[in-house]
Symmetry: C2
Subunit: 436 residues, 2 copies
């Protein structure tokens, strides 16, 4: 049976202007929220049918949270909003002349197009690393990593070759940003509290957790946060290599631009992201290097009248951030909100206002009672920072159920020193051997 | 890198007798529990690293529960028990002469072998149905079904061919046992409360839920339970076809042994199970038809001295159950417990006792406030039965965290008429299009 896709996506034609939003991340959802109850038709397109709360993906990968508690159905976001549609689709390209997007389920006309496609892992052209290393940008990838970590320990039990066993228990995290630091901390806590009990017949002390990083850790944060994070990680037994770049990985041997080398079965690449570009935009608006889209101060794509970009994919050249805002949740949410306001103003022939980023600060958690927080006027680290981190993340999750389940898991894990979702639901290494 | 598997599985050799248990289901875990703190070495083998709480798989498939809340890590079950081992492996055959099992990770000697491999879906030799229909015997299968159900509705939106759209919204459940009945009820509740809001641009009234069944519903339960379940389902809008057998399915057309035929993109096969046999047993102990293993009243496999079978795979011929006990949790748990006691008695040269099944009754839920319960001395249906069903299932789950998360989800779903895990984490239809 073939579905008829040579047509519109069955979106009702109305006299309302149609706003098509590509991507249901932080930016896209903020816009949706700002546009509800307004005189527009909104079509949200995403390749997943759920919003992913990316900041907690590392906890899924390390068995601390169930994936379903950090994902939220996009249809539930827009349900009960009249004239709002969702379509599960992947956009292949934009026809800016005909004002249409082309997707795997058909074409769709837009009056206004909002590109909120976010970012993807950047391997800087190294195809070997792309092939053999693990990424952690979406739920399936995090589940793959969760499976791989556990499968490695199961395999480590079976070999009497010491080098192999160590390689199976050797984790190399490339990149010392929040993702790398938080994952390293979580692995270190698994090493301390979970694995020795789960694998009493393995010498878990042999497990190594390495962060390889070009500059200092958390380089987007303050020096103090950086130092303290390093301090916390070292106390947790993590090896930190600075001023080192990983240059190659073949699934077993990790090469760097120094004498440093590892034998490891698990390399997690958290060294960079680039925009998730869509074909069809032309001219100076596409910044090849970072794969981001140049926008003006109203998030309007340079050279186009009715196309906007927000969040990670958008690069707004400001005094404070000449290379664009940091690719994080806050700029995305703020740009999404702001664009919704401007769009409404524009439709009502009112003045539109340039975007101004309100830096609320940034934070990272290293583990139990250990976090670093940089607020604009106050930087602090330790237990209180950890509570602030938890509160902010809990509050940012979408949906009461998700908040409650995450909160319960955190309390449980804290009291019991546990991480119970250490499940290999879909084997990663032995994909072909899967019998279901 | 090749793991060295041409050897023992690195299980320490001791003077203790080694009990190898294949399968970490209800039966296997009950034995584990009974053997802890005894003078034995226990090796648990399972192809998953978690225990699956099968009675709630249908709630995973219908977006009511996250998969991780009905799975429990097997390593956590045995952690802190000295001399207890777990190995993630699939057993290919048993060498009863050399008292060894052969697995994909090597061989292992046993002194006592306990087969608790459970059951698998029985297609009665119909390869078409096996190829095109969905089963619901483990977590990945339930997640596949969850994805398929949601993908079908996404596709239904896109077609203007009425027949195709109806086929996408037509669900055929083959088998009217607890699995079929519970799944039909859950789908009916999705139809009522969730789907019209999620898909306002689809006419969800066209969605059809059909149960096709050879005899009466819930035939293992009382007539009263059967009638009431039928009554509940009809009120929920489920079509029930009795005295009909599905004979073929090609992914679109469902044929039966009557004039009845369906066009459906989703057939769920819940019409039968058969034992999950292992190669290597010989003689009269193997019952080909049901693929079960004949055991005596001590759960000892007929013809062998130190091999036992418990749970679904075991067929004990008793007066009450000449074809073996029902393939359900209760006989499995009771046999597991009992065998552990007998094994200890045998090792201590005490008398062993024959197994006696204590029928605690059975139950099934149809939906919100609707369940049927048959206790030995009391049969009841409705709201109270539903609370009893929930209490018993919550209580039977393994682990405090799982119980708490399931309980919270149930309360939330009850109050909000919701099922929030309607997520397509791994697409099922478009597996090849997966970009991760």
């Amino acid at each position: 049976m073939e579905l008829d896709i040579n047509k519109n996506m069955n979106i009702a034609k109305t006299s309302l202007p149609r706003v098509v939003i590509i991507g249901g991340g932080f930016a896209g959802l903020a816009t949706i929220n700002g546009l509800k109850d307004q005189e527009v038709q909104v079509v949200l397109i995403d390749k997943h049918n759920y919003h992913t709360f990316q900041p907690l993906l590392y906890q899924v990968a390390t068995g601390g949270l169930e994936p379903d508690s950090i994902a939220y159905p996009l249809r539930k976001v827009i349900k009960d909003i009249p004239n709002f549609y969702f379509r599960l689709a992947e956009v292949s390209n934009i026809d800016t002349n005909k004002r249409k997007i082309h997707t795997n389920i058909g074409k769709l006309k837009y009056d206004y197009l909002i590109i909120a496609t976010g970012s993807k892992t950047n391997y800087f052209g190294n195809t070997n690393i792309e092939k053999f290393s693990m990424a952690m940008k979406n739920v399936p990838q995090s589940l793959n990593l969760r499976s791989l970590i556990l499968e490695n320990f199961e395999d480590a039990l079976l070999t009497s070759n010491l080098e192999e066993r160590n390689a199976l228990m050797n984790f190399v995290i490339v990149g010392g940003g929040p993702t790398g630091v938080e994952l390293a901390g979580a692995l270190a806590e698994m090493k301390k509290g979970i694995l020795p009990k789960d694998y009493p017949d393995l010498d878990i002390r042999q497990m190594q957790i390495n962060i390889v990083q070009g500059g200092r850790l958390l380089k987007a944060m303050s020096e103090k946060a950086s130092e303290k994070a390093e301090d916390f990680l070292i106390k947790l037994g993590v090896n930190i290599y600075k001023s080192v770049h990983v240059t190659n990985y073949d699934g077993y041997n990790v090469e760097t631009d120094t004498d440093l080398a590892f034998k490891s079965c698990t390399v997690i690449w958290a060294a960079g992201v680039s925009g998730e570009l869509i074909n069809g935009l032309e001219g100076e608006c596409v910044i090849e290097r970072a794969a981001r889209i140049k926008v003006d101060e109203f998030n309007k794509v340079i050279g186009y009248k009715n196309i906007f970009a927000i969040g990670d994919i958008a690069c707004m050249d400001t005094k404070e951030f000449p290379k664009g805002h940091p690719m994080m949740a806050q700029p995305a949410i703020q740009q999404g909100k702001h664009l919704a306001k401007n769009l409404i103003a524009q439709l009502e022939n009112k003045d539109i206002r340039p975007f101004k980023y309100n830096d609320k600060g940034s934070m990272a958690t290293i583990g139990r009672n250990k976090a670093v927080v940089d607020l604009p006027k106050w930087k602090f680290q330790g237990v209180f920072a950890w509570f602030v981190w938890m509160f902010v993340h809990l509050f940012s999750l979408i949906g009461f159920r998700n908040r409650a389940v995450v909160f319960f898991n955190w309390v449980y894990n804290y009291i019991r020193f546990d991480r119970e979702t250490r499940l290999i639901i879909r084997p990663f290494k032995n994909k072909n051997k899967q019998s279901f």
